[in-house]
Point group: C2
Chain length 201, copies 2
Amino acid sequence: MRRSLELWFDFGSTYSYPAALRIEALAGASGVDVSWRPFLLGPIFRLQGWNDSPFNLNPRRGAYMWRDVARVCADLDIPFRKPTVFPRNGILAARVATRFEGEGWVPEFVRTVYRANFAEDREISDREVIASCLAACGVDPEPALAAAVTDEAKGKLRERTDEAERRGVFGAPTFFAGDEMFWGNDRLERALAWVSRPSGS
Amino acid sequence: MRRSLELWFDFGSTYSYPAALRIEALAGASGVDVSWRPFLLGPIFRLQGWNDSPFNLNPRRGAYMWRDVARVCADLDIPFRKPTVFPRNGILAARVATRFEGEGWVPEFVRTVYRANFAEDREISDREVIASCLAACGVDPEPALAAAVTDEAKGKLRERTDEAERRGVFGAPTFFAGDEMFWGNDRLERALAWVSRPSGS
């Protein structure tokens, strides 16, 4: 039976960007499937008393993050340009990725939206930008966008965010190997090693 | 000329523990000297609006940290027992390590105090515990403890904490490779690679 690693991510989250770009190749090399789990960090941040990204609320922490994420992306040979708006609202992209979970084009859509935000400085809350990301993945944008904003689709993303809350998520990216939680792009290798352990160990 | 990596640490900081235990061997293998820089996180946390460790103020973040640091230590084969008091006050140990900076026994003293806190659950704010750590490193405790609490020695630690503030430190462990800052035990290898780069690159 194939094992699976869950990637929980928000399209506005800086460190989720390198995680989303590199997870599929790394997981594939370990014989692990990726379960893509978009959610919304906003409600999770509010639980912790924050009405904005902690990188904005804490300037010392924020200044370091921008330097660090640029280094991380350079090391991974991933293009990075500091977005002029941060954090961008990824709710529409998250609704699309949640509504079409399991479709073969979703991983490439996720990467395309992340590149739009963090390499091309495009406004991913803009419906036209998400439409162009869908088209770039060979998906007809209008039907997909219409399906992503039904009450059912909206409810599915809300449920996902509720699940993140219940499972103790406090930031992104977060990986779940079964019930074992790992936080941060730099824990991806460790999470994959965990999920690849022999059963019962 | 030997290159040097600065390790800025607080004796109460969980992730500083594995960093302090493994830095010397890793740095030595890269031909890099370690500059040990004890400081106090308390004033740095207060700058960020916190009157306690963020791991205590934010229970979701704290619950994860305890699980994660146990995994990190297990992976490194470093003993770890969750301290019954957190964070412990490391000011006396920091004064000792600052006062005797450059002495050959200081790195082993640092490691001994960290093990007392995070492997043996001993109260490192207790003068007798620090005396026993000094004795374990072959240092006569009483003269060392007396020298560590002079106004000059206290002032030196305060100056170090002020320097951390000026240089943008917001947590521990923090590594400086020249002016380049890296935060977190998981950035140790990256910081060493940075300091080891050919000059001018």
